[in-house]
């Protein structure tokens, strides 16, 4: 398809290089022999720590700098040769699993794709009962249990990903308490939305008092989004671009991820903060999963546990700025602790995987809104 190649040259080359690199690592692993691992799967581990780790571990984790840290820290501690393939889009690893995985040991994945993977039996079940770090996972995350099915657990949460309202905290005296701020003509031209059908439609659903997972009035959602258009500067389509809008103070309010807000606030020094308005805000989780076909499943299991220890989870937070799945408040500076504190009164809605119907209606609405 010629028309899909716009700008994807770099992407393709990157994927190719990644493929070549991981193939090379896999081949090297093959040469060293399937030492220790044998045919074991994670559920075979009944006592902690697992013994006879494989000597290699191939991560797919898009927090590159944290992965760098893990390669050294985990590698030294367990004498495992760790490599990481950063990726930019979940369909990259998903198609790898579809094609029959034989190189990826551990993926940091978002909930929606984890659910799809569980449905298609692409993931190993995990023996959380024997994993010490499972106790560290906060209850709020454990309750968002879409990675657990029929009493089996297929992933260990890495982080909570909130889709908050980000705002300029110099422009606003206090955090806006309603999504309505994005429909307020007073801020005309200084607002943005996210060019993402689900996120934008769910904001509109929350704004109009509907269930964002199963709304009952699509027309109203479309109507308010069209009504909102003249007030917006743009729909941002790329995280970096979205963050720049706030850093350059082109906009004063709009949806942005918690991680980008963290980066904008503490690394770029921009006057931004985030909130969950009274209508509620969506959140999901990223999880560590071990795909079927992983050449080094036991090392991967040990890694999953290791990553959920508070020290390493805190390190992950410093890199990404998302709410860790582990309570790490003791490890954080005062301002970081303040930043990660989610008031109990926030009404957070877990972003369950949408039904095909809702997803395609959202997609149609969003296309119609942009074409309007």
């Amino acid at each position: 398809m010629r028309k899909l190649t716009d700008g994807s040259t770099s992407l393709n080359r990157r994927r190719f290089l990644q493929g070549a690199a991981t193939t090379g690592v896999a081949a090297a692993a093959g040469c060293l022999g399937g030492d220790g691992g044998g045919d074991r799967v994670p559920m075979d581990v009944t006592e902690w720590p697992p013994e006879d780790l494989e000597s290699n571990l191939n991560l797919w984790n898009w927090y590159d700098s944290w992965a760098e840290y893990a390669i050294d820290a985990f590698g030294d501690e367990f004498d495992v040769d760790v490599s990481n393939s950063g990726y930019s889009s979940a369909d990259q690893w998903y198609s790898q699993l579809q094609a029959g995985n034989d190189e990826i040991d551990n993926i940091a994945a978002t909930t929606n794709w984890v659910e799809r993977s569980i449905e298609n039996d692409f993931l190993h079940e995990l023996p959380v009962d024997v994993m010490p770090a499972w106790e560290n996972i906060s209850d709020r995350v454990k309750d968002a249990s879409s990675y657990q099915q029929d009493g089996s657990v297929y992933g260990i949460p890495e982080a909570l990903v909130l889709y908050p309202l980000t705002y300029n905290d110099e422009y606003f005296d206090s955090a806006p308490d309603s999504w309505g701020v994005l429909w307020d003509e007073e801020h005309e031209g200084d607002l943005c939305m996210w060019d993402n059908a689900t996120v934008s439609c769910q904001i509109a659903a929350l704004y109009t008092g509907q269930d964002p997972i199963q709304p009952d009035d699509y027309d109203e959602i479309e109507e308010v989004l069209i009504q909102q258009k003249p007030l917006l500067q743009t729909y941002w389509g790329d995280y970096q671009q979205g963050m720049s809008l706030f850093v350059n103070e082109d906009v004063v309010a709009g949806p942005l991820t918690m991680g980008r807000t963290y980066t904008a606030r503490f690394q770029e020094g921009a006057p931004v903060h985030y909130t969950a308005p009274q209508e509620g805000a969506m959140y999901t989780s990223d999880l560590f999963v071990i795909p079927q076909g992983a050449p080094n499943p036991i090392a991967s299991l040990q890694f999953t546990n290791w990553a959920s220890e508070t020290e390493h989870a805190a390190q992950l937070f410093e890199t990404m700025g998302y709410q860790p799945a582990v309570d790490i408040s003791d490890e954080l500076s005062e301002e970081d602790a303040e930043f990660t504190n989610w008031p109990d009164e926030w009404d957070l809605v877990f972003s369950e995987t949408l039904s095909d119907e809702v997803r395609s209606r959202y997609d149609e609405i969003w296309t119609a809104v942009k074409a309007a």
Partner: protein
């Protein structure tokens, strides 16, 4: 004519041996080579296969098979492996929203192609006719290709945003700021910038091949610069022009990154819709169906355009 395998094999082997004995080692290699060519010459079908096979093989492997796969997917319900259906096509073709997006994509692609063709032709023409440092200039034209597309788009964001590079320069010159980012103009600028080299290269190639004497002959025969351009320069370089237009029009029609990064709330293009089906709406069959329809539309448009272009310029002369 029936021929036994041995009667054709023997002379080939024989000549090889003969040359090897009296002609030394190089002749031996030649002999074996000529043995192979003789072998192929006497089997026309095999020879055709040997010559035409690799290019066709590449086409089938990298073009036909993926296209066929897309075609198959586009007739499936909801997900790959689902039931056969036409509804992906009917949904798309009966939706006013999607057709509006296609129409807008068409309009912006035509604008971009026209601007790139005009600017690119002027650039190529001045490089060919008025410059001595041709290689250097061409290198500068191609240079941006060494940088990632996304990074170049971010550079434009920096240039075009309010209080960006452009506005700062305007401010220095005492002119009002434009704040072009997130407008239609920004999208046109971004497209023009990224596709310009694609047009300049074929334009340049056809213009270098243009015999300068023909331009002089035209002027000598009483045609001014504009009429010379229209009746000699353009028709003589029409192949390069068509190539450049095709190279620009097709990727513009399928673009999704430039309008997303530089455009405002109204800059939706069909490539963005297709990308969405694959990356976030999880509706590959629908995305594949849109892709198929768009491919057919784009190819049809180009065929029509080339026919028209050929009629306008190819015949030339007396028709006007």
């Amino acid at each position: 004519m029936p021929e036994s395998p041995s009667s054709t094999d023997e002379p080939a082997d024989g000549s090889g041996d003969e040359l090897a004995t009296d002609g030394g080692s190089t002749a031996g290699v030649d002999g074996r080579m000529s043995g192979l060519t003789t072998y192929l010459r006497e089997r026309p079908r095999l020879r055709t296969l040997a010559i035409a096979g690799p290019p066709y093989g590449i086409l089938v492997l990298f073009f036909a098979i993926p296209l066929l796969a897309m075609l198959v997917v586009s007739f499936q319900a909801d997900q790959i492996g689902g039931a056969w259906t036409l509804h992906n096509y009917t949904d798309f073709l009966t939706s006013e929203t999607y057709l509006t997006v296609v129409w807008r994509t068409f309009l912006i692609s035509v604008q971009v192609t026209a601007i790139v063709a005009a600017v690119g032709y002027a650039l190529a023409y001045s490089i060919v006719r008025f410059s001595r440092r041709t290689t250097l200039l061409l290198l500068l034209v191609i240079l941006p290709f060494w940088t990632s597309y996304i990074i170049r788009m971010y550079a434009w964001i920096n240039i075009l945003q309010s209080d960006g590079v452009l506005d700062s320069l305007l401010d220095l010159a005492g002119l009002p700021a434009l704040g072009l980012l997130y407008t239609d103009t920004a999208v046109l600028i971004g497209f023009t910038y990224v596709w310009l080299p694609l047009a300049v290269l074929p334009f340049y190639a056809s213009l270098t091949n243009l015999d300068g004497d023909l331009i002089e002959a035209s002027k000598d025969l009483g045609a001014g610069p504009i009429r010379t351009f229209l009746s000699v320069t353009l028709p003589m370089t029409i192949n390069g022009v068509v190539t450049g237009i095709v190279l620009v029009f097709i990727p513009t029609f399928g673009s999704f990154i430039t309008p997303r990064l530089l455009g405002g709330t109204n800059n939706i293009m069909i490539g963005m819709v297709i990308e969405n089906q694959f990356k976030s709406a999880f509706n590959w069959p629908f995305g594949a169906a849109i892709g198929m329809v768009i491919s057919v539309v784009v190819v049809a448009l180009l065929v029509v355009a080339m026919r028209l272009g050929g009629g306008l310029f190819g015949a030339g002369g007396e028709t006007a």
